[in-house]
Symmetry: C2
Subunit: 218 residues, 2 copies
């Protein structure tokens, strides 16, 4: 499949690399076609790897992963363009982290709104599914790095988009169906994005990112 | 031990009842000594159960549980009085839920501050430990209701207060030592309070409150 990965940071690189390994064609999108990280990735990731602008990538992809820095995601998606996103599954992996006060970051939006909702509102023709944003990127594409059962959340307004997302999580990344938790519509992004502060604390406490949330129930 | 439980809602009643069952003397504090819920509880909970004002309860307790509605906790604690709280372990179980926009609630404070921090700032001589606020009240006092391992978080600025809190969680409520996670200082309250939106979504999705978070790690 042709896939756009927007963002050249660790999350974008990890997801894009995994997708190329699976045999997909991936364009990594960034502000500039000469973005150093994107070019370096393209040169190392193999024959299915391409780099271009946000607009190039979004036009190329049948599915779009938003792996940009959450504080800049709306701007990046505007550069990608509403037309290029129309009707496409847009997997929003970003967290709206605000480092302007230093570390640990706060969120640029939360509580009565969320990045996932902002994206769906501004791009109503995109089929936004918020997912994967509650864990380290290496766990996103290889859940078996953390032993046993632990969960990935999905939410979004479009039921068929969520089904496609669940298929991608399961068949491409290896998430067991029972560990994929559908939280409902896109407003649940508030919940998954607001899980970041406790995730960051746990990361500090444990000293590594190879952990994840599990929901244990009676 | 003499214990104050501030708040007459489900959380306060569940914790106060458990403490009386354990043989402690408990004063349930509320705005009025004739509070209907508190009087009803006192009459049903046995000989160790008392009811009074927030001030009565805080003066009585060697340990204080804040189980008030989080949106009103600061006001309740002001009525309890800084002098009565001085030097005492104050277990803050409250969440600053804001129902003014209807359900699901948002938070009255979050992101760059938290209720736990507000309480510790306003009552610097109280030894505040934020804990138990990430689960249903029946799970707080009986973790075995949810099978297997799952966690309770503690955070606070006073290391000895946290040790006392951990002892209470373990010896009184049955939390295994390995399932009590110390997240550091009181600013970690942001993380545990901001876990409420996803908790509420899960509660909606599962249809019951007998679940909890577990942290699975490599």
């Amino acid at each position: 499949m042709k896939i756009a990965v927007l963002g050249t940071g660790m999350v974008g690189e990890t997801i894009a690399t995994k997708l190329v390994e699976l045999g997909h064609q991936v364009t990594m999108g960034s502000r500039s076609p000469e973005n150093e990280a994107a070019v370096k990735w393209r040169e190392s990731a193999g024959s299915g790897a391409f780099a271009g602008t946000f607009s190039d990538a979004a036009a190329f992809g049948e599915v779009v992963f938003n792996c940009t820095n959450g504080a800049n995601s709306l701007q990046a998606l505007r550069l990608a363009g509403a037309d290029a996103l129309r009707g496409k599954l847009l997997l929003d992996v970003a967290n709206p982290l605000d480092f302007s006060r230093g570390a640990p970051p706060s969120l640029t939006v939360c509580n009565t709104d969320s990045l996932g909702e902002q994206i769906q509102r501004e791009f109503p023709a995109a089929r936004v599914v918020k997912t994967l944003n509650t864990m380290n990127c290496e766990v996103m594409v290889k859940p078996a790095l953390v032993p046993g059962d632990h969960v990935v959340f999905v939410c979004g307004n479009d039921a068929s988009a969520k089904q496609e997302a669940i298929k991608i999580l399961g068949e491409w990344f290896g998430w067991k169906p029972g560990n994929i938790v559908d939280l409902g519509d896109i407003t649940a992004s508030r919940g998954t994005e607001m899980a970041l502060p406790i995730w960051l604390r746990l990361w500090n406490t444990l000293g590594h990112g190879r952990f994840n949330f599990q929901i244990v129930k009676a």
